[in-house]
Amino acid sequence: MYAGPVQELIDQLGRLPGVGPKSAQRIAFYLLKLPKEDAERLATAIVEVKARISFCRRCWNVSEGEFCEMCQDTRRDPTIVCVVEEPRDIVAVEKTQEFHGLYHVLQGAISPIEGIGPEQLRVKELLARVDAEGIKEVILCTNPNLEGEATAMYLARLLKPLGLSVTRIASGLPVGGDLEYADELTLGRALEGRREVDA
């Protein structure tokens, strides 16, 4: 236990994702040694982001106004929606330059063991959009791990009966890797998702 404000800082840092009590202590003492201006810049950045940035009312991406940049861009195709877990996944998909529709951010994934179900995610909001926006295709772009797959299966079960096209991103081998290092699950999925070679 440390003097009041130091302990308070450690406690607050310890609540951040991926930061355990030991890391919290290390970061706290790093901050204590920091020049005043640097520490203030960090504090201001947190205050600013909370004051100016919120979530897009339509897709739950981070946004400076009511609607995010993606939703305001009229060149994007509003009939096709890519569903992701977190705003950072939008950045990853955008880097491919392969997708020109809109997004929907679930703000998490289903995790039965942690008690995170569909009610804790932006699922209701997605269903409302399908109804209201004339969406024709939904691409389920959740992580290819257990939680992401569970989320995709759950959403497919909800969306398919509504008569729209529901697709899941393919799983396969990382480009530039060697086959012999692939795990059998990934290689199995890659075989399932094989496609005709253009000649």
């Binding site: 994702p17 991926g18 289903i110 039965p112 063991i113 942690e114 008690g115 995170i116 179900g117 569909p118 290819p144 791990n145 257990l146 797959e149 569970a150 299966m153 759950y154 079960r157 990382p174 890797g177 290092y181 692939a182 795990d183 059998e184 699950l185 990934t186 199995g188």
Partner: protein, 236 residues
């Protein structure tokens, strides 16, 4: 101990730092083990999908002070039928959650590991309505809390048994009755599960009695763990 080999089932994982995970496993020889899988969240990780909940793996681990380190992992079963069916996945998760609560760190208990592997294999083969309830009842028995079902848990009187209360130790006669009511069919099913009739019980189709056993077994498990099983209702 340094490097050691073991087999285990991944119970859960939590994110650590930029790209690592802490993986909790129940193992054959070392009880519950918590180990760091470095870089496992990178898409090019050599662990691939091998270290996710439900995965049954053969491991090479390096013993650390608080957390061990996974240095190699090879898949023994990856239970595709479970991973690709939301309903089975939810049931598997419930088994993992209960085992995670019961298992003690670094306390060898091969029986728990074997039960879980058996349960997951049975679930992958067929989604039997009584599988998870049977798993809970067997787990309670393994923990030394096998419910009394061959007579009243209160006074020893023979059938009829009309109620079930784990705080008393099992099924109860009309005179001792407390806790939830139970049908003779449900008592019979639970007896069969615990008395060598498991295979037959797993062939039972969904009936009011199997639903009753499912509720009682979950409640009994939760009573023993002194907490709710979060995964039971999350996808209902």
């Amino acid at each position: 101990m340094g490097l050691y080999r073991d087999q285990g089932v991944v119970l859960r994982t939590i994110r650590l730092g930029e790209s690592d995970r802490i993986v909790t496993l129940v193992t054959q020889a070392h009880g519950k083990v918590r180990a760091v899988a470095k870089g496992v969240r990178k898409t090019k990780s050599r662990f691939g999908g091998r270290l996710e909940p439900t995965s049954h793996v053969s491991l090479l681990l390096y013993e650390g002070r608080e957390l061990d380190i996974v240095t190699q992992a090879e898949a023994l079963d990856h239970f595709k039928a479970i991973r690709e069916d939301l309903d089975r996945l939810a049931r598997a998760t419930t088994m993992l959650e209960a085992v995670d609560q019961v298992a003690q760190e670094r306390q060898p208990g091969a029986r728990l590991y074997q039960m879980l592997v058996g349960g997951l294999r049975a679930l992958a083969a067929r989604n039997a309505p009584l599988l998870v309830p049977a798993f809970f009842l067997k787990l309670l028995a393994l923990e030394g809390f096998q419910p009394v079902l061959d007579g009243c848990a209160g006074c020893g009187a023979p059938e009829p048994l009309v109620a079930f209360d784990l705080t008393v130790g099992g099924a109860l006669c009309p005179a001792c009755a407390r806790g939830p009511r139970v049908s003779p069919e449900a008592v019979d099913l639970m007896q069969r599960i615990l008395d060598g009739g498991l295979a037959g019980a797993l062939n039972e189709p969904v009936t009011p009695a199997t639903a009753e056993v499912a509720t009682l077994a979950t409640r009994a498990m939760e009573h023993h763990l002194e907490r709710r099983l979060r995964s039971v209702t999350v996808l209902d």
